[in-house]
Symmetry: C2
Subunit: 272 residues, 2 copies
């Protein structure tokens, strides 16, 4: 059984050092085996232009070195987002998974949202799944999780827990409804029979507000924690038996991955 938390916090735009302290403090307070923090947690999100994003981007090892330190101190796995300066000189909206052993994986966001397209280069590699002592952990970032190809591909790669650092802009919804971001995460978890832990941010930044709907969802698609509410920091917790996500059966005759018909899907050439 792994303890998992999602940290809904408010990074301060441009305050790399302060944001590291905020993340590390949250990881210590969370005290869980896995801690997920938001997208671009080191830098903030609402860059005025590409230069500002570039000024806050660092090579991955350097960008998340303080997270490795706090992972060593606490024993936690930490997943979160940061602007990455690539070897190729491009700036990516990236996420890292770190452990007491160091940087386990870096992922560059494939699907850029709105003005991110003016600021970041899109990634070119499918998200990673990392074998850890707790189980197989996958990563993706925010808008990525709205692409069923991503959650399905992570499941096919064996992910048992998908960590989703996110900055979900608040786009409104009918009265009494959950944010559609949460509905989509519930469905993705259910369809692929895996855990999803999404850490959203809070804190209005240059006039942009966030839905603040951090959540942890079971392989059945049900909420184990959250959704958090907008406008407040929060740490949400759940105990997740990651082995549950290895079992894709719905009954004696159905299995959500084995029941797929890839040879038929290939009749629509652009599905993949």
């Amino acid at each position: 059984m792994a303890t998992v938390s999602v940290v809904q916090l408010a990074p301060v735009l441009g305050d790399l050092e302060g944001n590291h302290a905020r993340v590390c403090d949250a990881v210590r307070r969370a005290g869980t085996d896995v801690v997920v923090v938001p997208e671009l947690a080191t830098s903030g999100y609402v860059f005025s232009d590409a230069d500002e994003a570039r000024s806050l981007a660092r090579p991955a090892e350097a960008a998340v070195a303080p997270w490795v330190d706090v992972a060593r101190e606490t024993g936690a796995l930490v997943a979160g987002g940061f602007p990455e300066l690539g070897d190729d000189g491009l700036v990516y909206n990236s996420a890292a998974l770190v452990s007491p052993d160091g940087l386990l994986a870096v992922y560059r966001k494939l699907h850029l949202w709105d003005r991110e397209k003016l600021v970041f280069a899109p990634g070119e590699e499918f998200p990673p799944v990392v074998e850890t002592a707790l189980g197989r952990v996958g990563l993706c970032v925010c808008y990525d999780v709205e692409f069923p190809e991503i959650s399905r591909g992570l499941a096919l790669r064996g992910a048992e827990l998908v960590c989703v650092p996110t900055n979900w802009p608040d786009e409104g919804r009918p009265d009494g409804e959950r944010p559609m971001e949460v509905v989509r995460v519930m469905a993705a978890a259910s369809i692929n029979r895996l855990f999803i832990a999404a850490a959203d941010r809070t804190g209005v930044e240059r006039g942009v507000d966030w839905v603040g709907a951090s959540a942890i969802v079971s392989p059945g698609g049900w909420l184990l924690a959250g959704p958090a509410t907008s406008g407040a920091e929060a740490i949400l917790y759940a105990s997740c038996d990651l082995a549950e996500a290895r079992d894709k059966r719905l009954n004696d005759r159905n299995d959500v991955l084995a029941d797929r018909r890839p040879e038929v899907y290939a009749q629509v050439p652009t599905i993949a």
Copy 2:
């Protein structure tokens, strides 16, 4: 603007003639441009064995002839399910789309649920999308809609409205939650920016009960009608501007289909 209804009715197992009357009566009462009725609406669902299913299966044209008649009488498009006796001698869990012009499309369910695997042969063709005077209408059946490959493929084929005849077994849920079947349909509509109209059945049959959650969902993923409640017949209505589903943009820079990264998805060979 098209008027769309989903009819939650209770077929009587084995009563082909009575079930035709039930469907035709519902189509008349609905009075909408599109009417969706449940999976296996002509036959009922809980067959004791393959022989019983076969005894109720008919070639498609014959199976849905009364639906064509009522389509001519009312001007409606009708989508619904029936056990099909194929030219190949196999029995399929099929759905048809009929109009006043006749039988427009037959689809054989690709993903069979539980004991259906003992009774039906699985289809081998991706679900159809039919150009109609109202817009482009796609079809799939029940468990199919839990496969994101299906809703995505239908969107890529241009579907604006996906009709889903279904028989959703009631599998329970946490207090206060919507059925996960509805959550998945909401997410699929939102992810692909199209309308989904799902007609569930009611009426306990050989001890099996149904979630009874018929619903019509917008391209934003929000409920336009339903979910209906278990244990009661119902006709739910919505006005759907199918042209809305042609626009896949989320903002000036994002489009749910154009933002896809198929060349990257291909890095996970079994996605398609």
